[in-house]
Each structure stands twice: as structure tokens, then as C-alpha cells.
């Protein structure tokens, strides 16, 4: 192969890249790498993108587009730069493109293999915003924080941009040559030395390609590894049914839900759909669907647990006992289970009675972090209570290769150590970082003669592989993916690979000798075959447009638990001593998103921490060990040690330490490297989720956390109003603080449109999707840990978290707080320059360029929703300029900003309606937060239109305004939180 004659020093190049920003980079790159290989590489990498970038138009957009790639460089599009005075029209205008009008394209985004449909908004050919696909069963329009942030991942300038061989720049042709050579060599041995390591795969086309590969190389082996895997779920199914089965829950039909540390609202495949259905059953004033009741049994708080009417906090071992008790009581297991001694028997008795009372209408769901026997028990209980076919549906596994990741990876390592592996292809799995320490993949990788890594970034694995090929982002390639219920979506590229990434399909194709193969054609061929549609063109365009392949959902299968499953169950874990719980992070997942500033700076729902993970321990345990918030401790687990800061977490089970995965990256990129502590260093394949026998010792030093919220308790009742269904139904009235609109002043009349928002505290699950959606829509900069710690986070929308009741098992309340748009806005009165004023729709508008930065408005805002640019945050934000939303002003240093009710959207809608001389329809305008919300907690519209959803919400008796005694008359109001506890359970 053609190794560069005088290779450029890539690490040095990366170091520069880490420091330099757009304009400077190009030059330094030249200086750095004047090598023939590099120049050849330029030829191949950049012209297509360069062309794409130049075909821009319009002042603001063109400006940002010009700055697009570091390759083009030279200009930066920040509003404060010198005025761009050029107009560059197309040479030939692409059909359908109207300058200045946005377009929408459907595709899907996936996590651990499972996808959900999304629609991307494009401005001048650039995808800028991700929205859930209303037509997709796994989304129904909702999206997750990670999904919302995926757009930033697409533009991340720190993604790998060059093929490297042994850390040195290599050219495309060099890569092809290598692949051809490997193919030939492997072909000779029927691929005996060939190994393929992927993550969970649901993509039919990728699976097909791998099958083809196995046919071509019969001796090869395919290994799979996901750090946050579903092994326990599959094992649970094996225990219960004797084979792997996927279950699909139907929360909409569940009157009673029991969550065993369930991730149904946060991480399980289909969690968006589950959240939507769940919330639909938690509307106290919805006559059609009575409010469901929710029990949760868990060791560490989950989003589902936070909504529970009864939340039982137990150690993992006790959970196993408790569930056996329940199973025994409902005839889902040996009857002798029914008298297992467990704590909180009184609540459990109530639960059991309730379960039996709701036969056929109850649902038990366990999170992936629960051991296999729990899952088996859940199946048994659901079956025993006639849940199957009602609230639970069983389908054939959606994954192409439902295999156990730990064993699979262990086999691979064994093969490598035995020298049986000659060529290893790693497709997008950062195994060197995420694999359990005791498997020792890192050491093994060095032994592989030929290792090729396809990854988005130059990460820990890339470092250990001979070849690193930049992977294309999901939005840059043709592919397909299946959802939790098997529904398939054809993923269409939203933009040409910005940094010359390759798709897995492409690599495999090369390996199969289909050189210069075109992913699109291949995909079409596959689907032409699979769909068997008479009119394929129609099928194809329709599938692409809708973002869903019609009736591709998996058919339900009829299965029943084996009668003797109980005997096969492993014994419950010991309940004595400290145990360490590993859990995926809501933002970083298994660490793959560590370089995503939005997700790093997203306040976690319970800890409200940003830029950190911590050893989360219960208050009781903290007292026992004499630990304070942010003390440093040393966690010791079978010989391995790790230092971590302490975070005291109410609602955490005593003697349990929760550590979130995904932090402490060594090579995540400038944003994520070195943030938090690396839980994988302790994790072992044996105890992937719950590790008993933890030793914890206080060590010297304290840690600086950057938490967005510093006070836990709610002082006074007027922030969050809560009641119970009983009280609501007449038995005792809703707590109602009387307010009078008496005023000396004549009020202003808002007789046209009066925008208003209503947020349901019953529906909000604290998933943070709205926060990230707002950040994406409104060009909100990332400020970094230090600034967050100094109280300068910029989020326009935050989700406050309050605790109520006992410290060890408190009730949790989530309250999204955007700008209240008060009609008597206190902020406006104190602004000396009319920078914040009212408009005729009653919006409290902020005119950035008029602001001189007195900050009196923020002082005078009782809700503290205003944010200030203490520094030039947006100027310092590393994201490329062309990824800003051109419809929203990018704020400079020294100006105040805040939630605008997405005024760019309302204004655009008003212009369109005005052009047609028609009124705006209800639901025509969705704010970014509303659109993202998986549970439809946020409703926005014209409150003067009595038929509108928001007007109806505000008419409800449950509607209240925060701090209404201040007579600010907020346009944003809340729906009182209503819980539905079991009357027979006396909560202490």
C-alpha cells in the first residue's frame, strides 16, 4: 500500500485542531501537512463539500455557510464580524429550492440499534433542527434529548476527518488498496482470520450485507458489543420462554403500572411511545381515560419512579425478594414465595391487592439494569394477570443477532489471544473504552495483525487500531433501521458527508469486492426485493417521505412462560453490604456523546448536575459514613480502585452507590475528554449493572460540581401545587390561592391573538428533551463547566426539580420553567432603554440589540428565567457557524436574553396566514419545547380562541399561575400535579 512519503504528524494536527478555530485552521493545516498523501486526500475529501458549501445564498445564511467547513475557512459568520457584502446566487437553482424557505426531510435516529423516526428541518440545504416524526409509531412527534442533540453531533468539528494508518494520514486509494489486499488474503482462508465487531444491529440491509459477508467468508465470526446492552432482557426472556422474545408494552391500556426500576420513560426501546401512552393515562380531568395508578420499586431514581404514586426504595437483592413475593401472591410462581419476608410488606400487600383487582389491565415492566430473573418474573406476572395480548405484546426479536455481548466480546478476546484473528473490522464500537476492564480488549487489540476501525472520532479504539476510517454520521448516509416494534425506516442522507465520513455499508461492500458501489442503489435493490411492492417507485418515495415503511412492524407471537421457569432462576443477590450500581447516563448514554456540549451541559433530572458524574449515595448512607456533598471517596471493587466525588441523592436506596457510565473519557475530543470519572474501570462482565462487595473510603479533597440547582426543597406552596385524585373528585377541594386582578391601571386589551402556554405537571417526566430542543432552536450557546458553576448557564428553559416528604423516599416534582410572558411584566418596567417590551399579542419581547445590559430585568424577574451573556459565549462556542439557526439572532456579549415562545415560529406563521388573509389555526404553531415533548406536557396557542387546546387547559380548575400573588399575570400557567395513591396504603 502507498504509505505517505513524508507523512504529516497527525496527533500534532489534532492538537492544533483542538486549539484553533475555523479561520486559522486551514492555514495551519497547510503548514502542517504539505505531503503528497495529504494533497491527494484533499482532492478526494473536499471538492464535493466545497461545492455544496458554495451553492449558498442570502446574507445571513450564505455568511454562515461560507464559514461552513474548516476546509473553506477564512470567514466566520458571527453577527459581530464585519458585514458580509456579497451575494452568491446558484449557478443552476435546484428544483424545489426556494431561497429562504425551509424544507423538511424524514429519516431516523438510532441508539443501541433501535431507531425512531425524525424529521429534519433544512434551511438553504442545511439540516438545522431535529423533530420527532408524528407518523412514526416510536415517536408520534416526540423526541429525546439525545435525538435533539444529534444535530450538533452532525456538525461537530471535532469529528474525525481523515483516514489514518498507524496515526498517520492516509489517502482513500491507500485504504482501497488495503481492503482489496485483505479481501484477497482472507478469501484464501475462507475468512478464518476475519472478525467483525459491531454494536446491536437492527438494520435489515446491514444484516443482509453481513450475511453476504458470511457466505463469502464462511469461517469468519461476527461479534457484538454494546456497553448499555439488553443482555438481561434477553436472558430474562430465555429464562421465561426458553428463547429470546421482545416485548412491546401498551401503556395506553394499563390501568395499573408496576415499574421495577423501569427505563420505560427514559431509555428502553420505544420509550418515547411509552411516555406518550403513559402520560395519556395520567390526565386527571380526562373523562374518557381514567387516571392510571403507578407503583415503582427501585434502588436508584428513574423518571418513571418520579411519577409513581407509590415508590418503594429497595436494594437490588430486596427487589428480587419483593418481586418473588408478588409473583407468588398472584400465582405466577411457587406459592411458598408468597411468604418471603421483605421490607415494606404493607405497601407490597396493597400493591398485590391492586394487581389482582386490575387483572388484564395491569403492566409490569423492568429496566434493562435489572437482573435476568426479574425480567423472567415480570413476564410470569404479566402472564398470570392476563397481561399478554392486553398490555404486553410479544414479538420476534428485532435485533438481527440477539446475542450476549459479554460472552461475544470475551470470545473475540480469547480468539485474538489464541492468535486466531488476522483481520478485525470494528464498526462504530468504541470497545477500548466501553468494554469491561476484566475482558481486556484494549490489550488484545494490540495483538491483532490487521485492525480496521470505522468510527466517528479519533477515540480510544482508534488509537489502538492500525486503520481509522472516519465514520459518516447517521444523517450523512443511506441506511435503514428498525424501531422497538420492528417498524422499519429508510434513512436518507440529509447532507453530503461534512467531513468525508464512510458508512459501514460502504466498508462491507468494499470487503465484498463491490467496489465503487452506491449505497442508495444497493438499498433500493434490497427494499425492492424485501417490500415486494408492485409499484416500487411509489413505495420508495412514499417510504422516504413518510419516514416509515408501511406495515413493517413485527407480527406478535404467542408464547407463554415455561411452567418450571421458577426453578431455573438464579438466587437473589445478597442484600448485605455496599453495592455499586452502574447506570447509563441520560445524556452521554455509554459515553458516545461525551463530545456533545449540549448533552454535557444538560442538567440531569435528579442531580441537576452538568459536566459531571458522581458517586450518588443515599442521605442515610452519607450520614452513616460521615460524607458531605462533593467529598471525594475511593471506590474499591475486587481489587480495582476509582476516586469519585460524592453526590447525596434523596430517594436513592441505602447502601447503594450509583455511578453513571460514559464519563472520564481519555480521547473524546476537546469537549468531553476528562469530564467526570470512568465507571468502566470498575465494571466487570460478571456484574455489569449491580456489583456487590463495594468498599468505599473517604479521601482528602473536595470536588467542584456545576449543578444548575442548589436548593432542593420547595419553600411555600405557590410554585408547585399538588393534590390527589380523591381530593380532586370532590372529597376535598384543590388547594387554591385566591388572586384578584384588581388594579389601579386600566389594562391593555389583547383582542387579536394572545399567545399563551400551559404546562402539565402530570405529564412532565423531566426527560430534558424540551431543554435541548430549545437550545437547538434558539442558538443557545454552551458555556462550559466553570461558567455553569458560576451560575451562568444559558438555557432558556429549565426543568426545576423539587422534593417533598421524607429525605430517603421523597416525592419528586419536575417543573419546566420557560419565560412566563407576564402581562404585567416586572422586567419591562425597570428597563431604562425599552429593550424588553410588550407586543400586541401580549408577548414579552426582548430586543437584543437595544439592550445595554443593566441586568435589572433579571433581578426583577421573580421566576429568574432571564439569561445574560456575561462573556461572548456564542462567539466562543466551537460549533461551526453554518449550524446556527438563521431565523434567530445570535446574541453577542453583554446582552440579556430569554425564552421568546419561539417568536420566529409564531411570526412566520402569522406572515403566512396574513398573506392568505386567514386566521392562524390552533396547533399551526408549535414551540420547540412543545414539539419535542414526548408526553405533550406543553400546550401552546392563542388563548383568545376558546376552542384552542391551551384555552381549554386554562379553563380547567387545575390550572394555576406560579407566584400569582405578585399579580404578574403570567401567560404561562401550570396544571396542578395530581397523584392517584392507593387509599388502602397509608403512606408515612
Amino acid at each position: 500500500m502507498t504509505a505517505p512519503s513524508t507523512p504529516a504528524d497527525l496527533p500534532a494536527l489534532r492538537r492544533k485542531l483542538a486549539q484553533e478555530t475555523g479561520p486559522r485552521f486551514w492555514r495551519s493545516l497547510e503548514e502542517l501537512a504539505e505531503t503528497p498523501a495529504f494533497l491527494e486526500l484533499l482532492q478526494q475529501e473536499f471538492p464535493p463539500f466545497a461545492a455544496a458549501a458554495v451553492q449558498g445564498f442570502d446574507r445571513r445564511r450564505f455568511l454562515q455557510l461560507m464559514a461552513a467547513s474548516m476546509a473553506l475557512g477564512g470567514l466566520t459568520g458571527c453577527q459581530k464580524e464585519v458585514e458580509q457584502r456579497q451575494l452568491s446566487p446558484y449557478v443552476e437553482q435546484p428544483p424545489g429550492i426556494v431561497p429562504g424557505l425551509s424544507r423538511h426531510y424524514a429519516t431516523a435516529t438510532s441508539l443501541d440499534g433501535f431507531g425512531y423516526g425524525v424529521i429534519l428541518r433544512h434551511e438553504m440545504g442545511r439540516p438545522l433542527k431535529v423533530e420527532g416524526n408524528p407518523d412514526h409509531p416510536a415517536s408520534l412527534g416526540g423526541s429525546s434529548a439525545i435525538g435533539q442533540a444529534s444535530i450538533l453531533g452532525l456538525y461537530d468539528p471535532y469529528r474525525a476527518q481523515t483516514i489514518t494508518q498507524n496515526g498517520q494520514l492516509a489517502s482513500d486509494s491507500a485504504l482501497r488498496t488495503m481492503l482489496v489486499e485483505r479481501a484477497a488474503a482472507l478469501g484464501a482462508t475462507h475468512g478464518s482470520g476475519l472478525r467483525l465487531l459491531t454494536g446491536a444491529v437492527t438494520s435489515p440491509s446491514l444484516a443482509a450485507q453481513i450475511d453476504a459477508l458470511r457466505k463469502a467468508y464462511p469461517q469468519m465470526a461476527w461479534h457484538q458489543w454494546e456497553a448499555v446492552d439488553r443482555d438481561t432482557v434477553r436472558d430474562g426472556a430465555r429464562l421465561a420462554f426458553g428463547r429470546v422474545i421482545d416485548t412491546v408494552c401498551d401503556f395506553a391500556r394499563a390501568d395499573l403500572v408496576l415499574g421495577i426500576e423501569s427505563d420505560a420513560l427514559s431509555a428502553a426501546p420505544g420509550h418515547l411511545r411509552y411516555a406518550r401512552d403513559f402520560a395519556a393515562r395520567r390526565r386527571p380531568d380526562d373523562a374518557k381515560s381514567p387516571m392510571s395508578r403507578l407503583y415503582a420499586i427501585e434502588s436508584t431514581p428513574t423518571l418513571l419512579g418520579a411519577k409513581a404514586d407509590h415508590r418503594l426504595v429497595m436494594k437490588p437483592g430486596n427487589i428480587q425478594h419483593a418481586l418473588r413475593l408478588v409473583a407468588g401472591a398472584v400465582k405466577a410462581g411457587p406459592s411458598d414465595w408468597a411468604n418471603i419476608p421483605v421490607p415494606q410488606a404493607q405497601e407490597l400487600a396493597g400493591l398485590i391487592a391492586d394487581l389482582q383487582a386490575h387483572r388484564g389491565r395491569c403492566l409490569v415492566h423492568a429496566g434493562r439494569a435489572q437482573p435476568a430473573d426479574i425480567h423472567a418474573l415480570c413476564h410470569a406476572i404479566n402472564h398470570a394477570l392476563d397481561g399478554f395480548g392486553q398490555t404486553v405484546h410479544t414479538i420476534e426479536p428485532v435485533e438481527a443477532l440477539p446475542t450476549d455481548g459479554d460472552t461475544s466480546l470475551a470470545e473475540l478476546v480469547a480468539d485474538i489471544e489464541a492468535g486466531r484473528v488476522d483481520t478485525l473490522f470494528i464498526l462504530g464500537v468504541n470497545a477500548a473504552y466501553t468494554a469491561p476492564a476484566d475482558i481486556g480488549i484494549a490489550a488484545a487489540l494490540r495483538l491483532v495483525p490487521h485492525s480496521i476501525y470505522l468510527g466517528e472520532r479519533a477515540d480510544e479504539t482508534a488509537e489502538l487500531c492500525h486503520w481509522h476510517i472516519p465514520a459518516a454520521h447517521e444523517y450523512e448516509m443511506w441506511s435503514d433501521v428498525r424501531a422497538y416494534d420492528g417498524t422499519a425506516t429508510i434513512q436518507q442522507p440529509q447532507v453530503r458527508p461534512l467531513y468525508g465520513g464512510r458508512s459501514a455499508h460502504e466498508i462491507l461492500a468494499m470487503l465484498l469486492g463491490e467496489a465503487r458501489r452506491d449505497d442508495r442503489t444497493a438499498l433500493r435493490e434490497r427494499w425492492r426485493h424485501a417490500s415486494g411492492a408492485a409499484d416500487f417507485e411509489r413505495f420508495w418515495t412514499e417510504a422516504l417521505r413518510a419516514g416509515v415503511v408501511p406495515n413493517s412492524a413485527a407480527a406478535p407471537t404467542r408464547v407463554a412462560p415455561r411452567p418450571d421457569y421458577a426453578t431455573a432462576l438464579p438466587p437473589p443477590a445478597a442484600t448485605a453490604g455496599l453495592s455499586l450500581l452502574y447506570r447509563p447516563d441520560l445524556g452521554l448514554w455509554d459515553g458516545r456523546f461525551a463530545d456533545n456540549g449540549w448533552l454535557q451541559e444538560m442538567a440531569r433530572p435528579f442531580t441537576r448536575l452538568t459536566w459531571d458524574n458522581a458517586a450518588e449515595i443515599a442521605p442515610a448512607t452519607a450520614e452513616r459514613l460521615g460524607l458531605q456533598q462533593s467529598d471525594m471517596v475511593e471506590l474499591a471493587l475486587d481489587g480495582k480502585k476509582l476516586r469519585a466525588p460524592v453526590w447525596i441523592l434523596p430517594g436513592q436506596a441505602a447502601e447503594c452507590v450509583t455511578l453513571r457510565l460514559g464519563y472520564g473519557r481519555r480521547r473524546a475530543g476537546p469537549v468531553g475528554t476528562g469530564v467526570g470519572v470512568n465507571a468502566y474501570r470498575l465494571r466487570s462482565a460478571r456484574n455489569g449493572w449491580n456489583a456487590p462487595g463495594l468498599a468505599l473510603a473517604k479521601v482528602s479533597g473536595r470536588h467542584l460540581f456545576a449543578s444548575e440547582q442548589h436548593e432542593w426543597l420547595m419553600h411555600g406552596e405557590n410554585l408547585i401545587r399538588a393534590t390527589t385524585l380523591e381530593q380532586l373528585h370532590g372529597k376535598s377541594p384543590v388547594p387554591e390561592a385566591g388572586t384578584s386582578d384588581a388594579s389601579l391601571y386600566p389594562g391593555f386589551a389583547y383582542d387579536g391573538i394572545a399567545w399563551a402556554m400551559s404546562i402539565s405537571l402530570n405529564s412532565c417526566i423531566g426527560c430534558q428533551a424540551c431543554v435541548i430542543a430549545c437550545q437547538a432552536e434558539n442558538n443557545i450557546p454552551v458555556v462550559g463547566k466553570e461558567e455553569v458553576a458560576r451560575g451562568r448557564i444559558m438555557h432558556w428553559l429549565r426543568i426545576d426539580r423539587y422534593y417533598e416528604g421524607p429525605l430517603d423516599a421523597p416525592a419528586t416534582h419536575f417543573q419546566p420553567v420557560p419565560c412566563m410572558h407576564c402581562e404585567n411584566a416586572p422586567c419591562e418596567v425597570v428597563c431604562p432603554v425599552q429593550a424588553t417590551v410588550h407586543d400586541s399579542q401580549g408577548l414579552n419581547v426582548m430586543v437584543y440589540n437595544r439592550c445595554v445590559g443593566t441586568r435589572f430585568c433579571s433581578n426583577n424577574c421573580p421566576y429568574k428565567v432571564r439569561r445574560f451573556n456575561f462573556f461572548d459565549y456564542s462567539g466562543d462556542d466551537p460549533r461551526p457557524r453554518e449550524s446556527w439557526n438563521p431565523e434567530v439572532t445570535v446574541r453577542g456579549r453583554g446582552v440579556m436574553e430569554k425564552c421568546t415562545y419561539c417568536i420566529q415560529r409564531t411570526r412566520q406563521a402569522m406572515i403566512e396566514a396574513d398573506k392568505a388573509n386567514r386566521p392562524i389555526a390552533d396547533g399551526e404553531v408549535l414551540t420547540a419545547c412543545q414539539q419535542a415533548c414526548p408526553t405533550q406536557a406543553i400546550v401552546f396557542g392563542n388563548k383568545n380562541d376558546t376552542a384552542s387546546a391551551v384555552a381549554r387547559r386554562k379553563a380547567s380548575a387545575l390550572d394555576y399561575a406560579m407566584l400569582d400573588e405578585l399579580n404578574t399575570r403570567p401567560r404561562t400557567s401550570y396544571e396542578t400535579a395530581v397523584r392517584n395513591p392507593n387509599p388502602s396504603i397509608k403512606t408515612s
Binding site: 432603554v833 425599552q834 445590559g853 461572548d872
Partner: protein, 452 residues
């Protein structure tokens, strides 16, 4: 030793003093005396401090106010505390010279020049703070109602705008009020000057003042009316500063008591800072026979009285939240007293209320060292009052999830200490170039004494 009464009878000017002696003594300090070493020392130190201000300001303007400790919710920090503090110190002088002129108190003439000059420089320092604290300092002129091509204007409901006008007018008026008092004395200096440079310098300042009967008559009228306007103006200026907070709805700010509260505090720091500077200068310039025990006595008593008024304000401040029964307000007050910033709360109480009670005892009241120390304590204590007031209400507002604290950076400090340098430097220049006591007013005092 003398009792309070005998002290009260102490003359406001030594019996042996006459027109000639006061003219000579006071003008020779400026014209004849060689610049003393302590002056160089004092001026040098002040300039160093001032340099610190320059550095801090440049750094601030270059990097934005993020260099300070301010945050959300505590968006106002030291800059605003400094501002309120300086404007408070600035109100003492004008108040002495205007109000006590109206009531015809003779002792006033010994100290008013002095106090007024302090007022001037303090007001200048105060004026800097609101500009520094803006997010976009360069655009402060948008607060001024000028016809812009944007067709948009200032917003006159904002207390900040009231403040902007109050401060601007106050500084402008104080300058005139101070200068008009200087004219006849400049004439004296002009006529006593021995060097040509001095003659021209003071000659220009004197505007050709001849002391003719017409001059004097117009002078008396205009000065009287000005005094009549300056007195209420001082009150209004600091009341408006109080309104900055009272008009806000932050828990702990939203109360009608702040205007008087702030004004009383202002006078308090005004008296204290006057004494603080007057006692040493009096000693160094040998002014014992002109600025007599009587003056010090009177101001000390004023200080005591004002201190008691302030104590009442503090009591009210503690009483009202509980009387009104608004939880957020209660929390805010308790937080101020026992929360993260409680230190400043107790410092202010001890320095402003507890310690000054020593002044009840005549002997201590007359101990000048102690007096200087107490005054210094009060000046410091007032700063802590302002700081505590500005920060705690913000740090502990209505929304618990947004309770936070404030921690200052060296750049906050630079601005504060630097501004002190600015004021002192100006003050040293004043005592070197102009008569520290109004000569012609002393002559009036002497004449009144003779007639009596």
C-alpha cells in the same frame, strides 16, 4: 476637663482671629507653604490605587463583566454596592453646606468647603460605577433622550433612568454650587498670589471678582436659592437610589422604607467620611483655631443622632417582613442575617450601630483618634450594608431552585479600591490648590461675632 456644655460654648472660631489672619493663614497654605512630605506620600498612594482602577477598568471593558462575580440570580454585585456607597458619601457635603446654610448655623462655615469637595469626588466615583456595570458599557448614552435615527427613546418608568438623571444633575449642580462658593476666595488668592502663574490661575478662576456691593448682593441671593434647591436635591438623589430597589419586586427589595433608609445611611457615611478626612487635615494644616473642637463636637453628635435613626431603620427592616408575613421576604431577611452573606450583615450592625454608641460619652467623643477610628468603621460598615442589601435579596428571591450566592473576584476588588484612589487623589489635589475653608464666610463669622 471640660464638660459637653463648655464644649458647646466653644467658639466656632478662635477669638484672636480677624479678617487678615484668616486670609493669610488659609491662603498661605496654598500659596506660600512648601508642599509637605505627607502630601506627596498621600497623593502617591492615592495615585497608585487609582492606577489599579485604570487597570481593572481596561480589563473589564476588554473582557466583559463576566470577569466579576456576578451571575444569575445575583446579577448585581460590588459595582452597585460601590455606587450606592459612594453616592451616599457624596451626599454629606452638599447637605452640610446647603441645609445648615439655610438654618444659618455658623459652625457650618468651618467645614462646608471641605465636605463639598469630598462630595464632588465621591460623586464622580459613584458616576463611574453604573457605567462600568453595564453589559455594553459603550452604549450608556442610550439612556439619554436624544433624537436617534432608530426613533426609539429611553423608558422613563425605570428607576435606573431616574437614577441616571438624578446622578447627572446632582454632579452638575454640585460642581456649580461648589464653584460659586470658591469665587470670592479665588479672588483673595489672586490678590495674594506672588507668582505670575498663580495670579493668572486664580485670576481666571475668580472671573474678575471685585467684591463690589452689587456682586455681594447678587451673590447672597443666588447662593440662598441654590442652597434652597440643593438641600431637597440631596434628599431626592439618595431617595431615588433607594427607589432603584424599592421599585423592584425582588423579595426584600420591594418595600417603601428604602428611600429614607438609604438617605439616612447616606448622611451617616457623609458625616463619617467628612470627619475621617477633616481631623487629620486639621492637624496637619494647623487649623485648630479655625476648625475648632466645636465643629468636631457638632459633627460627632450629628453622627450619633443619625446612627440612631439608622438603627431605627434596621429595626424596621427586621420588623416589616414578619409583620407583612410574606414568606419569600421573611426567608430573604433571615438569609441576609444568617445565610451565606451573614458576615456583611453583622459587620454592618457592629460598625454602624453598636460601636458608635460610644459617642454618648463626651470624653470618648472628644478623643480624636477614637473618633477617626469610629468614622472609619462607619464608612466601612456602610459599604457592607450596601453589599448585604444588594446581594442577599437577589441571592434568595422567590424561586428556591434559583437561590445562589455571590463571590467576588479580584476585578471586583480592583474597581472598589481603585475608586477610593480616585477620590483620595482628587481630594489631595484640592487641599493643595484651594483653600480648605471658605475665607470670606469666616470673615462673615468674625463680623457677626464682633457685632454680637
Amino acid at each position: 476637663m471640660a464638660t459637653a456644655e463648655t464644649h458647646w460654648r466653644e467658639p466656632v472660631i478662635g477669638p484672636e482671629q480677624n479678617y487678615a489672619t484668616v486670609s493669610e493663614h488659609l491662603s498661605d497654605l496654598v500659596l506660600v507653604q512648601r508642599t509637605p512630605l505627607w502630601w506627596y506620600a498621600g497623593f502617591g498612594v492615592s495615585m497608585l490605587l487609582f492606577l489599579w482602577l485604570v487597570v481593572a477598568a481596561v480589563y473589564l471593558l476588554a473582557n466583559g463583566i463576566g470577569v466579576w462575580g456576578v451571575n444569575i440570580p445575583v446579577a448585581w454585585g460590588w459595582a452597585l454596592a460601590n455606587y450606592v456607597w459612594w453616592i451616599g458619601i457624596a451626599s454629606g457635603g452638599t447637605f452640610i453646606s446647603s441645609l445648615f446654610y439655610l438654618v444659618g448655623a455658623d459652625w457650618r462655615n468651618g467645614v462646608n468647603r471641605f465636605a463639598e469637595s469630598l462630595t464632588l469626588f465621591a460623586a464622580a466615583a459613584a458616576g463611574l460605577m453604573p457605567i462600568f456595570h453595564l453589559g455594553r458599557q459603550g452604549l450608556f448614552y442610550w439612556l439619554f433622550p436624544y433624537p436617534s435615527v432608530m426613533g426609539i427613546w429611553p423608558q422613563f418608568r425605570s428607576p435606573l433612568l431616574w437614577d441616571f438623571f438624578a446622578l447627572l444633575c446632582y454632579i452638575l449642580n454640585s460642581i456649580v454650587f461648589w464653584y460659586i462658593g470658591l469665587i470670592p476666595d479665588c479672588a483673595t488668592l489672586r490678590d495674594r498670589a506672588t507668582t505670575r502663574r498663580a495670579q493668572i490661575f486664580y485670576g481666571l478662576l475668580a472671573l474678575g471678582w471685585r467684591g463690589s456691593a452689587r456682586h455681594w448682593r447678587n451673590y447672597k441671593i443666588v447662593y440662598l436659592v441654590m442652597a434652597g434647591f440643593m438641600a431637597p436635591m440631596v434628599v431626592s438623589v439618595h431617595s431615588i437610589v433607594g427607589l432603584d430597589f424599592a421599585a423592584g419586586i425582588a423579595a426584600g427589595w420591594h418595600s417603601t422604607q428604602w428611600p429614607p433608609y438609604f438617605f439616612i445611611g447616606a448622611l451617616y457615611s457623609g458625616w463619617a467620611s467628612t470627619l475621617l478626612l477633616m481631623i487629620p487635615i486639621r492637624r496637619l494644616y494647623r487649623l485648630e483655631r479655625i476648625v475648632t473642637e466645636r465643629h468636631i463636637e457638632v459633627i460627632a453628635k450629628l453622627m450619633l443622632a443619625t446612627g440612631l435613626m439608622l438603627a431605627y431603620c434596621y429595626a424596621l427592616e427586621a420588623f416589616q417582613p414578619f409583620y407583612r408575613g410574606d414568606q419569600a421576604e421573611r426567608d430573604a431577611y433571615l438569609y441576609g442575617a444568617f445565610g451565606a452573606h451573614a458576615g456583611s450583615f453583622w459587620v454592618r450592625n457592629s460598625l454602624n450601630i453598636f460601636l458608635p454608641q460610644l459617642l454618648w460619652i463626651p470624653a470618648l467623643r472628644r478623643n480624636r483618634v477614637l473618633l477617626v477610628l469610629l468614622s472609619f468603621g462607619i464608612v466601612v460598615g456602610m459599604w457592607f450594608e450596601r453589599f448585604n442589601f444588594v446581594v442577599t435579596a437577589l441571592a434568595h428571591d422567590y424561586i428556591p431552585s434559583y437561590w445562589f450566592t455571590f463571590s467576588a473576584t479580584i476585578w471586583d476588588e480592583g474597581i472598589l479600591y481603585g475608586s477610593i484612589g480616585l477620590v483620595l487623589a482628587g481630594f489631595f489635589l484640592f487641599i493643595r490648590l484651594l483653600p480648605v475653608v471658605s475665607m470670606f464666610e469666616l470673615r462673615e463669622v468674625i463680623r457677626r461675632k464682633e457685632r454680637a
